[in-house]
């Protein structure tokens, strides 16, 4: 009987498993898929000579608005290899992660249905302990000597590292400038000269270091350096989590080869940090640390990197505090850091000096820029930022599409999602969460994913006025730059916030108070009128309030802008109901340079801002006050729920305050705090009113309040959360435990889907140098440089410069010059008789560096030629 029972149970279990296995996967029913079809009409007509005429009608421009997909399904896949396999079997469309593992990259390259977007951003270096050269413990620190550090540059073979350690997924790097950057492009020739001067030469490195070691009193005995009878030990602090493990071993090997005794100190980030970062370098616990850095946006101005990485003006850590620099280098670095120059020419001169002096200082030794890829199906395209790739960019949601398809759904995998609570003020700042948050939001301006320059989105134009003599320069025509001897801040501009009376404090009031205070203090000077170094005026698009709507259907209003201005101040004010101690230091710092803001006109919206902070690019100086907070978008009405919850100490925006009050941090998308906010919505519905009523009532009327309440209530009823944006997709639902997020197309989005399509591919030029391989010394020789992108000649207007270097037979730069544009995609280099006459017989190289206006990646090509008499 028992046996029979067991047999029956076993059969039932097996059947159940088979049945469930056969159950088809639940998939989203594709909604309406509208395909863009290219019709090819073949028409045959009779003429004297019969011919077939192929008539290809023009493809109708898509009229679709918002994102290209109806739905984006986001799932979690923590394993890169599994993600690539899932891509291969077409279970997912794109893996939004920057993969830097060479094996995984090779797998993607080998798969016929896959390709990827490349990006950079992380880079590795060796940080030297520059203290000494003799520590208090009597040990020798050779890296206390700048010349030894400088010689280390040629002891390390960067090309070897790139090929062997990261399997070619990298770009060797000698200077503090990221390879893909505006400055690397502008100073490509100078950087190339450094690369040549500091090329790998182990033998020479050994000799140079040997000279300095002997000068320190060390002796080479039996192939080992000793100091006062003891072997010279070099402690290399090696990080173990990534390729820095191999870097550390390689550097250790090189040091051992020239006679040092190396102690390889393998440590994780947590264990290494107390030693290299917060520890005192004079304690002698390490000589070299395998450092790594990340840049997440395309850097527009790297001039301050010299001060940041080489001097005590950098990080406030003991390692930096102990940097001692050549006075000339310090002066140049400081000038660049604080923008103490008045023209681009002056800046270029300073950078030219700094690049050379930094190599002589070499407190850091740059190794390579790590490249990484975002793998995807070949038919998927999206704007991929040169640094952030798809996930770190701002335009991914606006541009991601499947070739020839409108609507339908996309399945996107990420290593982690919903890592922390989402709230716009102080919610999750994890890159994976931020990718999705950006998909639901938009900004008044967007950074160009290939140049880092800001482009207008919701503003028509802007004006930027800076004080005369400041190094600010205009690049694009939407932000008009002018200079003024003095910029007065209007008395009625808002300069601060009174959290008790809930009103702005004007510049005039602050100034009057300062005058009054000075009058009481006999020694104090009467303050003059309030001035600023920079003024910006943002002119929003005229139909802003008609076309832009929040996801719940509420029209965008000036109240949303006003809430942003208020929240800049209110959370940092001690008397505020939502005071957050964590926000106070940042506010104090902000007030140190902020001078005032004034809403000049509410419709069309025009906002004037005054500040002492300025950037080199005029476009970056435009303050828009668009309601995209630190961690996401916020409408005034959904933020109000959070403010009510925080004021009642039921739930709060920041992690620090949540811990202080022992309550949960606000999550606008799921979890118990959504219930709290629902309670606040009910309370608001019952009691009426509006946030910050004394000031809000001047800009927002009762009808708007009623409409927003109604829309938000309906939104919650339909979707069960309070996350609102104005972006191309809205959050349909988050499934926290299951690790799934569903984004749907925003039906209110006003712009055409095609608007940002030009960013689907980075226009990195393809360069080819062509010409004679044999040159007679003293004769003129002409070379052609062709510059193309996807086979099409590059427009002359889109090329910033085409520089060339002639490297002679001794590997020295013999000449640097500029190529001349002949026509689109074609440049000419003329090696004059003077240039060739200066060369000796032998093998030379002509190197060409092309810099485009459209992408901040310098591209080079070379050609070897032989000079004969």
């Amino acid at each position: 009987m028992q046996k029979k029972l067991l047999a029956v149970i076993a059969v039932i279990m097996a059947l159940a498993m088979v049945l469930t296995a056969c159950e088809p996967a639940a998939v989203l029913e594709p909604e309406k898929i509208i395909e863009t079809v290219v019709e090819t009409v073949v028409e045959t007509v009779e003429v004297e000579v019969p011919v077939e005429v192929e008539v290809v009608p023009e493809v109708a421009e898509s009229t679709r608005k918002g994102g290209w997909f109806d739905t984006i399904i986001v799932i979690e896949e923590p394993n890169t290899d599994a993600a690539i396999t899932r891509l291969e079997v077409e279970e997912i469309d794109i893996f939004v992660y920057t993969v830097s593992n060479p094996e995984s990259a090779a797998k993607v390259e080998a798969a016929p249905n896959l390709d990827s977007y490349a990006s950079s951003g992380s880079y590795n270096e060796l940080s030297f302990n520059t203290t000494g050269p003799v520590w208090e413990n009597g040990k020798l620190n050779p890296f206390g000597i700048a010349k030894i550090r400088e010689a280390m540059n040629i002891l390390i073979d960067r090309d070897y590292m790139v090929q062997e350690i990261v399997g070619g997924l990298g770009t060797p790097r000698w200077t503090t400038f990221n390879s893909a950057s505006n400055d690397a492009a502008a100073f490509a020739a100078e950087i190339r000269a450094i690369e040549l001067a500091y090329g790998y030469n182990k033998e020479l490195a050994g000799e140079l270091i040997g000279v300095e070691m002997e000068a320190l009193g060390a002796t080479l005995e039996g192939g080992k350096w000793t100091y006062e009878g003891e072997p010279v030990e070099i402690s290399v602090l090696i990080r173990i989590e990534d390729e820095r493990l191999q870097i550390g071993d390689y550097v250790s090997n090189q040091l051992e080869d020239i006679g040092f005794t190396v102690i390889r100190d393998y440590k994780s980030a947590a264990d290494a940090s107390p030693i290299w970062y917060s520890g005192d370098p004079n304690d002698g616990l390490f000589h070299i640390y395998t450092g790594g850095w990340i840049t997440t946006v395309i850097p527009r101005d790297l001039g301050d990197n010299f001060a940041y990485f080489y001097t005590d003006l950098g990080l406030p850590a003991p390692l930096w505090m102990n940097y001692e620099n050549d006075p000339e280098f310090y002066d140049v670095a400081e000038k660049l850091a604080y923008q103490d120059f008045t023209s681009l020419e002056e800046r270029a001169e300073l950078i030219g000096k700094a690049l050379d002096l930094a190599m002589k200082d070499s407190a850091r030794l740059w190794l390579y820029d790590q490249n990484s890829i975002t793998p995807k199906q070949t038919n998927i395209s999206a704007a991929a930022d040169l640094y952030g790739n798809v996930g770190g960019g701002y335009l991914w949601a606006l541009t991601i599409q499947r070739a020839g398809e409108e609507g339908g759904s996309l399945t996107m995998a990420m290593p982690s999602i919903l890592t922390e609570p989402w709230n716009p003020i102080a919610g999750s700042n994890w890159i994976y969460d931020m990718t999705l948050i950006r998909g639901t939001s938009e900004s008044a301006t967007y950074p160009d994913p290939f140049t880092g320059l800001y482009l207008p989105n919701r503003i028509d134009r802007a004006e930027v006025v800076v004080e005369e003599g400041l190094p600010v320069f205009q690049n694009l025509d939407w932000a008009e730059l002018s200079y003024a001897p003095e910029i007065l801040v209007p008395e009625d501009a808002w300069a601060d916030w009174d959290p008790v009376e809930m009103r702005f404090i004007t510049v005039g009031e602050l100034h009057a108070a300062a005058v009054e205070a000075a009058a009481e203090d006999e020694e104090a000077e009467t303050p003059g009128p309030v001035t600023a170094l920079r003024k910006s005026v943002a002119y929003y698009q005229e139909d802003l309030f008609d076309v832009v709507k929040w996801h719940d259907g509420s029209p965008f209003s000036v109240g949303d802008i006003l809430m942003g201005i208020i929240l800049t101040f209110d959370r940092g004010k001690e008397d505020s109901a939502i005071y957050d101690a964590a926000a106070a230091p940042t506010l104090r710092s902000f007030l140190g340079s902020f001078k005032g803001v004034k809403i000049i006109s509410t419709d069309p919206l025009v906002i004037e801002t005054y500040s002492d902070v300025y950037y080199q690019d005029a476009e970056l100086n435009v303050s828009t006050w668009w309601p995209y907070y630190d961690q996401g978008p916020g409408a005034w009405h959904n933020l109000y729920l959070g403010l009510l919850a925080e004021a009642d100490h039921e739930s709060v925006f920041s992690q620090a305050k949540a811990a202080e009050l022992d309550v949960d941090r606000l999550s606008y998308i799921a979890g118990p705090t959504v219930e709290i906010m629902k309670g606040k919505l009910d309370q608001w519905t019952e009691e009426g009113g509006m946030p910050y009523e004394p000031i809000f009532s001047e800009f927002v009327d009762e009808a708007e309040v009623a409409l927003r309440l109604e829309n938000l209530t309906e939104w919650y009823r339909r979707y069960g959360h309070f996350w609102l944006g104005t972006g191309p997709y809205y959050l349909q639902r988050a499934f926290p435990v299951e690790g799934t997020v569903i984004l749907n197309n925003n039906p209110f989005f006003p712009d055409l889907s095609t608007r940002w399509d030009r960013f689907a591919n980075a226009p990195i030029p393809v360069v080819e140098v062509d010409g004679s391989a044999r040159v007679t010394i003293g004769d003129e020789e002409v070379y052609e440089v062709t510059v193309t992108f996807e086979g099409v000649p590059y427009a002359l207007d889109d090329i910033t410069s085409v520089n060339f270097l002639v490297v002679d037979a001794n590997n020295q730069i013999a000449h640097v010059g500029k190529a001349v544009g002949v026509k689109d995609g074609l440049f000419e280099i003329v090696l004059t008789p003077e240039i060739t006459g200066a060369l000796s017989a032998g093998s030379n190289t002509l190197e060409v560096v092309v810099v485009s206006n459209l992408v901040a990646v310098p591209v080079s090509d070379g050609l070897t030629f032989v000079t004969v008499d």
Binding site: E23, P78, N79, P274, S278, D312, P672
Partner: protein, 380 residues
């Protein structure tokens, strides 16, 4: 002192002739109280060790302080607006932000004091708030973090462990009856395959059934988006469970069957079993009364320990199958030095273990007549 005798009466049922003494209840009570306190002390010491280990004896404070200063220093210095401020001003801002964060994490107080606070909170099951982790729905409450991950873990581990336990038990019994048969030899031969962990089989199963054949999903708990209909949701859940459970079974099956089978064989060779056979009792009666019953304490012990083992989840298997369970949560907590989560997870396990051990003593006495509580050990 002989507590149990087996009679040779006709019905051959073992009869327990307990020699009742007046102090039995008192002895049991005394034993229980002693056992309770000794277990409590073990939990207390164990938990303090967990607190010390999770914090590396206080060294984690240094690590975290360095990380905070490092992170905030970078954050401030990389901000283009703040980067050009005078170093003193930047330093002041950094110090203020560091102080806020250190206060949040309690690092402004000495570790020794905090270690006792951690211990007290743990012992009183006041699990408190996580320092870094949040539940998937956004709460920092350790209780909610654990509770949120508990159902997926229980679902997976219960299905896998129960299946493994009962299937292997039944199969082991079958093999013990067919000692020396081809199947018996095959199981013995295959038992070393259990040295490979479940995640190892998981990789192969994924490759075959997900990547190659496409029959079953790669991982996760349900389809994306999760079906709204409860029946479809359950079916989807079942479909996602197949591979992880299969991996678990493949890894544990042969070793589990082998050990149980050996165990049954040992008991089936006892003198009293031979006697029963000689008396002509049916095989079924012999199995049920003379083999299974004496092995019950061991079976119950391993079953109970398996039950509380469910609490810990299965880190690597959960990772391979992207299963949102407790194992992965605990791993993240260890990575981020999130002491409250580590302690919270461990204290519940410790209590469960202590309670199980406590209760098992009583159960042994109930199911095995040879065992008497507080009498210094079993006698045959």
């Amino acid at each position: 002192m002989t507590d149990t005798t087996y009679s040779s009466e006709e019905n051959s049922k073992p009869v327990v002739t307990a020699q009742k003494k007046p102090g039995t209840v008192l002895r049991m009570l005394r034993y229980s109280v002693g056992k309770f306190f000794s277990l409590f002390l073990a939990v207390l010491i164990g938990m303090y060790l967990v607190v010390l280990i999770a914090n590396m004896g206080g060294y984690v404070d240094q690590i975290m302080k360095a990380q905070i200063r490092d992170g905030i220093g970078l954050q401030v210095s990389m901000d283009p607006e703040l980067r050009r401020r005078p170093p003193e001003e930047r330093q002041q801002l950094i110090n203020e932000l560091v102080a806020v964060e250190e206060h949040r994490l309690g690092l402004d107080k000495p570790f020794i004091g905090r270690s006792f606070r951690f211990l007290f909170n743990a012992m009183t099951l006041n699990l408190g708030r996580a320092q870094h982790l949040t539940s998937d729905s956004g709460s920092a409450s350790v209780r909610l973090i654990i509770l949120e991950r508990l159902p997926p873990t229980l679902l997976f581990m219960t299905t896998a462990s129960f299946s493994l336990f009962f299937i292997s038990l039944v199969f082991a019994l079958f093999l013990s009856r067919n000692y020396g048969s081809f199947i018996d030899k095959l199981v013995i031969a295959l038992s070393p395959t259990s040295s490979a962990p479940p995640w190892f089989y998981g990789i192969f199963l994924l490759l075959i059934f997900a990547a190659l054949l496409g029959w079953l999903p790669f991982g996760g708990m349900v389809d994306a988006p999760p079906p709204e209909d409860p029946i479809k949701y359950a079916l989807s859940l079942g479909r996602h469970l197949i591979l992880p459970v299969a991996a678990w079974l493949m890894s544990g099956f042969f070793a589990s069957v082998y050990s149980s089978r050996t165990f049954f064989l040992i008991f089936s060779m006892e003198d009293y079993v031979e006697l029963a056979r000689a008396k002509g009792l049916s095989a079924r009666d012999i199995e049920r009364r003379y083999i299974l019953r004496p092995t019950l304490p061991n079976i119950i012990t391993s079953f109970a320990l398996m039950l509380i083992g469910l609490w810990q989840g299965a880190l690597l298997t959960e990772t391979i199958f992207n299963w949102p369970g407790l194992g992965r949560m605990l791993y993240r907590a260890v990575q981020t030095f999130d002491t409250p989560v580590i302690v919270g997870s461990n204290v519940i396990y410790a209590y469960l273990l202590a309670i199980t051990v406590f209760i098992l003593d009583f159960i042994y006495a109930l199911v095995d007549p040879r065992v008497r509580m507080g009498s210094g050990g079993p006698k045959a």
